[in-house]
């Protein structure tokens, strides 16, 4: 990397990497939705999700390396770091859900988990659509509003799903497994809201 490149505030690489991360998040969420919708027939999709998780780590490392090698950045260093981390969190949660389905020997899905994965996928779609708009710090409010709405819906679903686990007479093993899985799904949906908040903050600061 030349001196001029280190000093010039060219953000192409950062934005390109964020867009890659957005596509990766979207793919992971889509795979999880498919996996839960057809569970247990397509359990092997967990392997594809793991590939997404590795890809997410690669992109995050590349972003951080890039950050360490440049003096001037197109947006605050802290924002780049936070956004990279938040995007990575989504894929980490998704991978955990897919992995724990196998680890906990889950025989069949829960309808609520299928609905939550649908919400997660839709929220990730919004992220993937809004990340390219960051290049020109364009208005992303319609995406962030939708992500917030989806997060609220996710919260409601999680609470209902959790409450259903504590009805009388339910197998304690089912409760242990699904309480944990619901929490991870909720974690993934919450992480999409974190991403939306960070993106919103970046746009407000740089417009």
């Amino acid at each position: 990397m030349g001196l001029a490149e280190m000093l010039a505030p060219s953000g192409r690489e950062y934005f390109a990497l964020f867009e890659q991360a957005g596509t990766n998040v979207m793919r992971a969420a889509d795979l999880l939705e498919q996996m839960l919708a057809s569970y247990p027939d397509r359990r092997e999709l967990a392997t594809d999700i793991l590939v997404c998780e590795h890809e997410g780590d690669r992109i995050t490392h590349e972003l951080i390396n890039h950050l360490n090698n440049t003096f001037v950045t197109p947006i605050d260093r802290e924002d780049i770091y936070r956004l990279a981390g938040a995007l990575d969190n989504i894929v980490d949660y998704i991978e955990e859900v897919a992995d724990y389905m196998g680890l906990y020997r889950v025989e069949a899905p829960m309808a609520q988990a299928q609905q939550m994965s649908k919400i997660l996928r839709r929220s990730c779609e919004q992220i993937a659509d809004s990340l390219p708009l960051l290049r020109g710090f364009q208005d992303i409010s319609r995406h962030t509003i939708e992500i917030n709405r989806l997060e609220n819906e996710g919260d409601r679903l999680t609470r209902e799903a959790m409450a259903a686990l504590f009805d009388n007479g339910i197998d304690p093993m089912v409760v242990i497994r699904w309480k944990d899985l619901y929490e991870r799904l909720e974690g993934a949906i919450d992480a999409t809201e974190d991403v939306a908040n960070i993106m919103e903050n970046i746009v407000i600061k740089n417009r």
Partner: protein
Amino acid sequence: MIDRDAGFIQVLRRRLLDRGWDHTITAGAVSPEALIRMRLNALVIDITVLGPDCWPYLESVCTRLPGLAVIVCTGPSSVAQRVRGLRLGVDAWVTKPCHPEELLSVVEAALRRHRRAELAVLEPPTVAGEVMIRHELHQAFVGEVSVGLTAREFEILQLLVQSDRVLRREEIYQRIWGYTMAHGDRSVDVFVRKLRQKLRLASPGWDYIHTHFGVGYRFEPVGEESGLPGESPEPLAAPQTTRSQVVYTGLPDS
């Protein structure tokens, strides 16, 4: 008996001889194949002899020899260990130190339970459409070919066959899993789907399990050539739609 506790073996051997029970005592694992050849009624095992390999061993013995009474007689153990053993198919768990008479009574009780279960073997097979349900083998067959059902799939099939009405998902779950079904749990749907796939593969041209949307499932063998509306333009041909019937064929072949 698989044990290395010399003192306990000595006391027990005397009582076994007094009762005239044929027995063999070994200090290591005996393969399930060898156990089959020995034609045993009961196996008493101290799991400490096998170390950490005891769990796969117990699973393998209990699965391969469902008619064998398996009694674990071992030193102090945790609740988790006892629950795990019993869930793998062990009939009883006796904690050492114990009186040999107590152990022998537990063996006798386990043998009584097994004999009662053997009497149930006489339950005749059920024929539904092209499928013959062999209760004693825990399996369904089309002709001589096994449908390849897992234990749970078979239990669901058996439950549906024995009922002449629509069974609600919650009811099926409660009867098969033994717990209340959590709202949203798709277990019944998943297992019925697998069951249908296997039945469809073994008996193409027949529908056995019918979905009642939002309610549950009903068993009724329906041949696709039976001329049901919209199903086939072909004229009626045997076999026609038949409700399951019980066929008395005596004892099982195998």
